[in-house]
């Protein structure tokens, strides 16, 4: 991994320890890594056991690349950046998404990670299905799909 961005959609467990080691740069004193993990409940659905993620696969990586590009435009200090999302069936506690950024100082890493995960959640074509003891249904609290341009012009 020599390139500056590590952007991946995968069915296997996300290699977060490797991501964390990869994202460190000599010129950067700060690394922030956010992980979205499978939770055992969702609003009033108790006992969620698994999540199944599906994606409009050919367009996930391009969509994450657009976010990466915009993040670098907003925070030119970014050293390395990683966006990884998993699809398929995940059990409680497993990591579904990882966002990691290195920057010289900490404020930029924290800001860039927050903006990136917020944007990823509204612009990347991925859906989750929640599977609990007595049923299964699509994730609550879904967000109408936005174009990066829509979100890209607000904030910061």
């Amino acid at each position: 991994m020599d390139k500056a961005d590590w952007i991946e959609l995968t069915e296997g467990p996300l290699p977060v320890a490797e991501v964390l080691a990869w994202v460190v740069r000599p010129g950067c004193g700060a690394v922030d890594l956010f992980c979205g993990t499978v939770r055992d409940h969702s609003e009033d659905r108790r006992g969620v056991e698994m999540l199944e993620y599906e994606a409009y696969e050919p367009f996930v990586v391009p969509s994450m690349k657009e976010i990466a590009h915009e993040a670098r435009r907003r925070w030119p200090e970014i050293g390395r950046l990683a966006f990884l999302h998993r699809i398929g069936v995940l059990t409680v506690g497993e990591i579904a998404v990882a966002v990691a950024v290195s920057t010289p100082h900490r404020a930029e890493a924290l800001d860039a990670v927050r903006w990136s995960i917020d944007t990823l959640k509204t612009t990347v074509p991925i859906w989750k299905r929640e599977i609990w003891k007595d049923g299964a249904d699509w994730g609550l609290g879904a967000t109408e799909l936005s174009e990066l341009g829509d979100v890209g012009l607000s904030g910061t």
Binding site: E54, Y56, K121, I126, W127, T143, E144, L145
Partner: protein, 78 residues
């Protein structure tokens, strides 16, 4: 005529992952899906975005058999 892909809740509502649907532009194809896939799908459609070959589509964009229209309900990744 174009291939239409349905994702997440739209797939359940349509009862299909994909379908070949008649129409010469995006708007015509989408209108035809409403007729064909019934009430539950019709109710979901206003919350969905429609992409043509991976980009947001306008209703008047012409389509042919090679084109892929995607019906994308509210997303829930992460």
């Amino acid at each position: 005529m174009a291939t239409v892909l349905f994702f997440g809740p739209a797939r359940d509502a349509a009862g299909a992952r994909s379908a070949i649907v008649e129409g010469t532009c995006v708007g015509e194809v989408v209108a035809a899906t409403v007729t064909r896939f019934g009430e539950q799908f019709a109710q979901l459609l206003p919350t969905c975005r429609v992409w043509l070959n991976g980009d947001p589509a306008t209703p008047d964009a012409p389509v042919g058999i090679e084109d892929e229209i995607a019906v994308l309900p509210p997303v829930s990744g992460g």
